[in-house]
């Protein structure tokens, strides 16, 4: 069950890097938790803190102008690497509700939608100009309206984005995907009966 996505009007946080991988978003040592919550402390740990554990003042998340921002704006191939959903949980725990980038890794993109973190894909040039504007005038606001499928940048520039219609409904209404799928149980039952006849070797149970 995910929280309903409501329109955001918030400080945009620029992260001017490409190929931001999920090891950078949340290092492996934070993955030992049994919970989905509390991961914000490890978010971008190696970039936020130096070897002594002191904040690096120039990292965007540490700059006072960007604190409290709920939209991250980053370079292409965001979320590449490991499938760890912890990356999404960490971003959300820290307060982010949307990430804007020219492209996302497939698994990360999926993980976002399952949790109500909106991944917004915009053309590289539009993301570039948004990052430049946020760096030039830190504290600039970004508006994200999922219902209208529109992002308004810090300069008032409006960008349309596409989103899968079903994912959109799930995000806006906060639907439980498993509950929806379980409505197809009769079809799943039927599929299993037919497959069992066609390829019986796939139904030799592993647990014996």
């Amino acid at each position: 069950m995910i929280e309903k996505f409501v329109p955001l009007d918030t400080v945009g946080v620029p992260l001017d890097r490409v190929n931001v991988d999920t090891d950078a978003i949340i290092p492996a040592r934070y993955l030992k938790t049994l919970k989905r919550t509390g991961l914000g402390v490890g978010l971008f740990y190696a970039w936020r803190y130096d070897a002594e554990g002191a904040e690096r003042p120039d990292f965007p998340l540490n700059r006072p102008e960007f604190r409290g921002g709920r939209v991250l704006v980053a370079g292409e191939n965001f979320g590449c690497g490991s499938s760890r959903e912890h990356a999404v949980w960490a971003l959300m725990d820290f307060g982010f509700r949307a990430v804007i980038a020219p492209s996302f890794s497939d698994i990360f993109h999926n993980n976002c939608l399952k949790n109500g973190l909106l991944p917004v894909t915009l053309p590289a040039a539009e993301v570039r100009s948004m990052i430049d504007a946020l760096l030039a005038a830190p504290g600039g606001k970004v508006r994200v309206d999922l219902a209208a499928q529109e992002v308004t940048g810090p300069n008032g520039d409006v960008h349309r984005f596409t989103v899968d219609p079903f994912a959109k409904t799930c995000l806006l209404e906060g639907l439980d995907e498993i509950a929806l799928t379980l409505k197809s149980s009769p079809e799943i039952d039927r599929y299993e009966r037919e497959r069992k006849k066609a390829t019986p070797w796939l139904f030799l149970d592993l647990a014996g």
Binding site: N19, T33, A51, E76, G81, S184, W201
Partner: protein
Amino acid sequence: MPTLFEKIRDRHVVTRRGDDILLYIDRQLIHEVTSPQAFEGLRLAGRSVRRPGAMLAVPDHNVPTTPGRAERIDDRESREQIEELRKNTLGAGIDLFDITDPRQGIVHIIGPEAGLVLPGITIVCGDSHTGTLGAFGTIAFGVGTSEVEHVLATQTLWQKTPRRMRVTVDGALRSLVTPKDVILAVIAKIGASGGTGYAIEFAGETIRKMSMEGRMTVCNMTIEAGARFGLIAPDETTFAYLKGRPLAPPPSLWDAAVADWETLPSDPDAAWDREVTLDASSLEPHVTWGTSPQDALPVGGVVPDPEAQPDPSERARMRRALEYMALVPGTRMTDIPVDKVFIGSCTNARIEDLRAAAAVAMGRKVHANVTALVVPGSGLVKRQAEEEGLDRVFVDAGFQWRLPGCSMCLGMNPDRLKPGERCASTSNRNFEGRQGPGGRTHLMSPAMAAAAAVSGRIADVREVAR
């Protein structure tokens, strides 16, 4: 005219919703890190596991690789995750290869060994390297924890069809050039996001000649090119590997299964959205210089100069990577000293990998400045290697011979790099901090890593082995 991927997909359609397919998932592998929240989710919603017999679980990421781990794991959180896996699988009736089980090992290695990865199936795991299993002609892909939960509850996943890419590799590999070098070269060619949105089928004479171990190495790293799926058509090599394995079709069903599997390969007139070719005959051993797997080059090369890069964002990325790696443009790769050598991971910890590394280590000594680890991918690989005497070769040469697990592939268990340490590694990711905070990773093949271990620096294995 369908592709291998499309044929498997079409057999697994339960129902549709617009462009989305409810795909039946034949099997799911489970490990301790990405599953606790999935089982918790089931409990909170009062749901149960639909087909426990279609699941197999193993602890691998957190386990120490030193003796005594069955009795005691010092790190409390690691211990708790492993205990939680035990509780969750026992409660649901899911088979577990526990820490004391001789079959325990890295999740992507134990599945094939058990014979549970069969051509034509769909299989998922909460781990991005699940594409490894596409080497058997399967739709195998990594999922997040929410999807792990979805599969536990429903044995299905909603999926869109990816685009189709074929990577054709032809030509005979030269001596000491390996499947790892092939896949590093492919990633360098198409880039870390070149495969995003695609399922990649690997084809061509070079792939056909590879063993299952080599094919798994290739498919393992398709995710490093951004593709969730890497596939190779099943053939005689596949069938021979599977025959007689515990969960492979029994003799009474074997012929029917093989007849079915032979219908799977992509039709000759199948359509592709993108085609890439690679000539393997001129391929050199590869190493990475930077912090993305796409930063691979032939070992004879030099550290590239960001200033020669026209694209400003790529230039900035390269500068950052060189700063993190503490490297200067123009440095010969073979002049870079290493502190650690890691031979292991789901990319390169199968028996052939250990044989290749042992052949280089044999009669040589690990350099005085280097600590070198060999971590077999599973208990069965370890046993096989010991039967062949490979453990003695490694130990005599000064390598540490460890117990199976993910080990130094990721900074999660006790095996990790210290800040600033440089490692020649057979794993799959050279991201910042991947092997431990501040650690620096150079990816390469097992033979190349063994050559680095005995040389104290990155070395061309062809010169070391001469």
